[in-house]
Symmetry: C2
């Protein structure tokens, strides 16, 4: 508990563990607020997420990597180039120092991979009890260049809908880690920073209307939100939606719908038809055009799916809990 | 638990409870990141804090008010005008809806008092267990106008040291709320946003070198840090340090040192001597000049206190825990 009291021990924890791994010119100053110079004319994007995932380590990732990637990916949904993150650690009394060290190392690696700095941070300690180990909050800011207008409100009839890779790996990996899948599988979480791909698409002239990451609630909930915000219908084609063979197998055996499973390294991108091949090229071969945006007279956009059998099914948001605490 | 799953119930919680209280043009868009336009030429200040205070409600404040004031006050230490906050709520399963409502109302009132908007947010739910109810993380950004250079590294020999009001009320109020003070007292926490005062001082030409808020670790730890960063000595005069009569009484009876007690509505300000009366005037009558900054040849600044009896005592950082989870 004394590590959270603001005195010498807090100071030592911050110095030894955090600065040695996350240090940079801004953070090293250890002031109460970090100062950043924006590029001229740019707008600022800001986002935050708390991470309460259990277990802390899971196939393909950990809470530290998740806390960087999730926030960086949210920033890039507005076309922003992520610059800096804040890092708020809430540590449970009794958390092993080695565990914390490993997680902070993972944060450092993910931040480097994403090209962002940890600019400011805070550490609190709560009483032993829940056994969760720690919670992490990251907030982030990024800069949006003039002329870029990407928003879930900007979907336009005629836009293509791209999914940048297969669905469901993160949530299935979490289920496996919690012992909820009673057979062998080596499915790994897809947790990864996606901001560099967005930057490259924009630099190469890609014309993007909207980006959303299908995390909690999955593809269907995220697209449902875009429909509501943009006031357009979206129709997706079941047979074009990429799902890995092993994920599909688990879903069939266990009765999960991959459309509602959480992902941590995938984007839904709405773009002009002429930009779709550039986007698929940059994001890699696992992505696909999965649908398109249609006019909707009354502005009350709906999400529709043409099923494999040729039927048309209306998809809503996730109505029930599939799995809590996956991010 | 289902309120945290990202589906319909999360959506309803956010819509009904949060947007109705905290809504504004930016937040209402409910996008994954908020977009803010900086004023031209300004630098950006960013900060974060997690709040794990127990109990959630205490004399003079609550965790919601604390989570706004703490972050706003950190931003203003760099001379920034706070603009927007992010809000990360970690709710414990079983938290009463009325309690959450009351705390969100308090956040809304404090944000209005401070003149900041909640721009983006996130809600997670953890399993019932610790009994803490909720944790809050806020991150904030503010803009710093050209020519303003306020930093804990900028203390200069000759600067006056101002404390803007009496010490210790927050921590004593928390102790009382936890049943740790076995006699009657009506001491209230001082939790309050201070950013408007800083803005006024700067607009009226006040020349400030450094600002720090003496929260965890108290006045002595905060000044100790300024000494280290600025490489100067600071000498404070015990008899000039304001402490309320009832706080002093509790400290004497219970053996606390007010120099190390946490505050949530006070600043230490280092300024040019000619600015001290302006600052005291703006912050109000309870403040005082409590010391001054002196040259230190080797750059290893120390904190010294001239005691009431005329002795000189060297003060270090807080070495032990006085009370955990006070912010």
């Amino acid at each position: 508990m004394s590590h959270g009291s603001g005195g010498r021990q807090t100071h030592d924890l911050v110095q030894d563990l955090l600065l040695s791994r996350l240090g940079n010119k801004t953070l090293n100053r250890m002031e109460d607020s970090a100062v950043i110079s924006p590029s001229p004319g740019s707008r600022i994007a800001m986002t935050t997420d708390s991470y309460v995932v259990q277990p802390l380590f899971f196939p393909g990732g950990d809470i530290g990597r998740l806390s960087v990637c999730g926030t960086v990916n949210d920033l890039a949904t507005s076309g922003a180039v992520p610059q800096v993150l804040s890092l708020g650690l809430i540590l449970e009394e009794g958390l092993e120092f080695d565990t914390l060290e490993e997680i902070v190392d993972s944060i450092a690696r993910a931040a480097e991979e994403a090209g962002v700095l940890i600019a400011t941070g805070d550490t609190k300690v709560i009483n032993r009890g829940p056994g969760d180990g720690l919670y992490i909050n990251t907030a982030g800011i990024g800069f949006i260049e003039d002329g870029i207008e990407i928003s879930s409100y900007n979907g336009k009839p005629g836009d293509k809908v791209i999914l940048t890779g297969p669905l469901g790996n993160h949530e299935i990996a979490l289920m496996k880690a919690r012992g909820l899948i009673p057979f062998e599988t080596d499915i790994q979480s897809d947790v990864a920073p996606l901001n560099r791909y967005v930057k490259e698409v924009l630099e190469r002239g890609g014309d993007i209307s909207a980006i959303k990451d299908p995390t909690r609630g999955g593809l269907a909930s995220a697209l449902h939100e875009i429909c509501g915000h943009s006031g357009c219908n979206v129709t997706i084609y079941e047979e074009q939606i990429p799902v890995d063979r092993n994920v599909k197998a688990v879903c069939e055996l266990a009765g999960f719908d991959p459309l509602y499973l959480a992902n941590e390294g995938k984007y839904i991108i709405l773009c002009k038809p002429e930009s779709s091949s550039l986007i698929l090229d940059i994001f890699g071969s696992a992505g696909a055009v999965i649908g398109e945006v249609q006019e909707r007279g009354d502005g009350k956009g709906e999400l529709l799916m043409e099923t494999r059998s040729g039927g048309l099914r209306r998809l809503g948001m996730l109505e029930t809990t599939q799995l809590p605490r996956i991010c």
